[in-house]
Symmetry: C2
Subunit: 380 residues, 2 copies
Amino acid sequence: MTFSTSFVSDIRFGEGVHATIATSAGALEARGVLVVMDGFLAASGLGEQLAAQFAAAGIAAEFFSDFAGEPKLAHVQAASDAARGKDLVVGIGGGSALDIAKIAACVAAADEAPMHYALAAHPLPRKPLKKIMVPTTAGTGSETSATTIFAGPEGKKLWIWGAETKADLVLLDPLLTVTLPATLTAWCGLDAFVHAFEAATNRNAHGGAALYAHAALRLLTEALETAVKNPADIDARGKVLLGSCYAGIAIDNCGTAIAHNISHALAGLAPVHHGLATALGFEATLAWLAEADTADLAAAAHACGLSDAALLPGFVSDLMDRCGIARALPKAFSAFSADDLAREMRAPENQPMRRSTIRDVSDADIDRIAAAMIALPKTL
Amino acid sequence: MTFSTSFVSDIRFGEGVHATIATSAGALEARGVLVVMDGFLAASGLGEQLAAQFAAAGIAAEFFSDFAGEPKLAHVQAASDAARGKDLVVGIGGGSALDIAKIAACVAAADEAPMHYALAAHPLPRKPLKKIMVPTTAGTGSETSATTIFAGPEGKKLWIWGAETKADLVLLDPLLTVTLPATLTAWCGLDAFVHAFEAATNRNAHGGAALYAHAALRLLTEALETAVKNPADIDARGKVLLGSCYAGIAIDNCGTAIAHNISHALAGLAPVHHGLATALGFEATLAWLAEADTADLAAAAHACGLSDAALLPGFVSDLMDRCGIARALPKAFSAFSADDLAREMRAPENQPMRRSTIRDVSDADIDRIAAAMIALPKTL
């Protein structure tokens, strides 16, 4: 066993810790701060509350909420421009807000535009602005990862990756997640579950990251259904949020596998929620994957409270049932065939997730999986 | 549940990772390096091997091995002077080498002497030299902690504490621990076990650090006896080394408790190995502690594979038996009475460990515990 594990170095968890955002920025010696925040959150009263926090701390804070949906180049460009001259960026919201904040904090440290760094064309500035990440959904794990995703000028998904994008401080406040609707709680929670599962069982899995991945599987197994059904249950919300964060650390170290190949391939065809797409791809492949019967699969099963990896497919389908996840794709997928999806699954950018899968993924496997995915009802 | 967990941000584990010390220093952009290394290690061939590594990497490296036993002011002063003008310090050896390296990396970043920073008299320089820590014993967890201990001008134990002392990179190589004698393997391993146990069960315990503490208890329960009895078992050595590192993260976040009050009090009277003193203090108080019957004690028991906290005292005594730990103090303790030890246990510097203990520690408890400790044979 040999491994290398990197972590976000400071995580603070608890009901109400979002009240410490401005004082935490002060402790990081910030004088000028850009807050990248989902627009609906800014409008919810949280924007005013945060502005008051920064005023009380004597820190100049500017707010940026001019984005919606998945991050696009225009968003990250505008946020980067807004961050210039500041010394700290707060990202607060879902994965999009966090990714935009992480990119802006890096790009603003030099004179180049975001595209200069896309797909690792050039190394990121060595001294990015400091970053505080405050997730309000529990799923992407973006708060702990070294990666970001945005749509380039032609709408193609691009990424900016590097240790420079990592947060200096993560604040996990379950209070900020209680308004997340049940459907999104379920989709994001399953995304986190699959992050943990794939990081713990793929070809890059190692004992260092398994510590986090197994903790995430335990927390999500224990609390996700409750968080979906009883949205105000702070204890369950906290466990799901912490599980999502740990799952993010796990994938940041070990990456994902076939379920993410499928969800990225689906997203290449038409808009679909990443968590839903991942959950559907996971369910469609888990029985096949579990046949590999590796020690890592057995350990992941144990973390879910199961005696054997063979029980995993039934467990996951039941978890998805209990979380009310409909097995269906958005209507837009009616326009695509299994061949279209298989082509996306074979696209170069999705091969790392294919190769990291613990079983060899043959072309026949891809055709079979793509057919099963496209056979799902297109009713969402 | 609210907690704040801080981590060393990069841990690399594996047989042979010590061969990457110089290239890792290069990746951290080091041009001039001070290597603080136990003298016997430097003489063992590892010194030459490391010098060759640095030469091959084109990095100027100076070696400092002019210390023995627990760190004294003269050692940390000389190491700090040697580190001036360098940009990275490697600590390789037991807890003493690591503590000296951590202090030197901080002190060398400014013009003051080490005593300027002792007991937090002044804040540490904000931009310390970079640090790579490579433990060759498995116990202190110094590689992951923000604290250091050294003896001041009058021989009194002092500490220098701060996030600035933390390593940028920890390299855990079980190969470097195979020559550790059985007695030291056992003493250091028990020290790590108690770190994990106290961090997981004291008044400061929280879920964030419990992740590491429980992992450490599992690893040490599984592998310590094997590492003692079969010193060349790399798998067991690795588990003990990783367990010790995780236990260090746990105490770095949550601190220790009564067993460390006792071991520090014993060290205030006469020289005694810290791991032995801690193990003896732990065994002498565990049955009393376990009566508290908290959820944290139960969780720690589960991590040791036990169904109930009431089984902990028997388990720990058996573990100490299996690891061949003699229940005895060094001969020098013949000169001291239970009152002497009780006085040290009540000394101001040992009160944080008394207060953090999950049960209230009354003066009568201290007298009783001190009497039990001093009643041990003084035959070492």
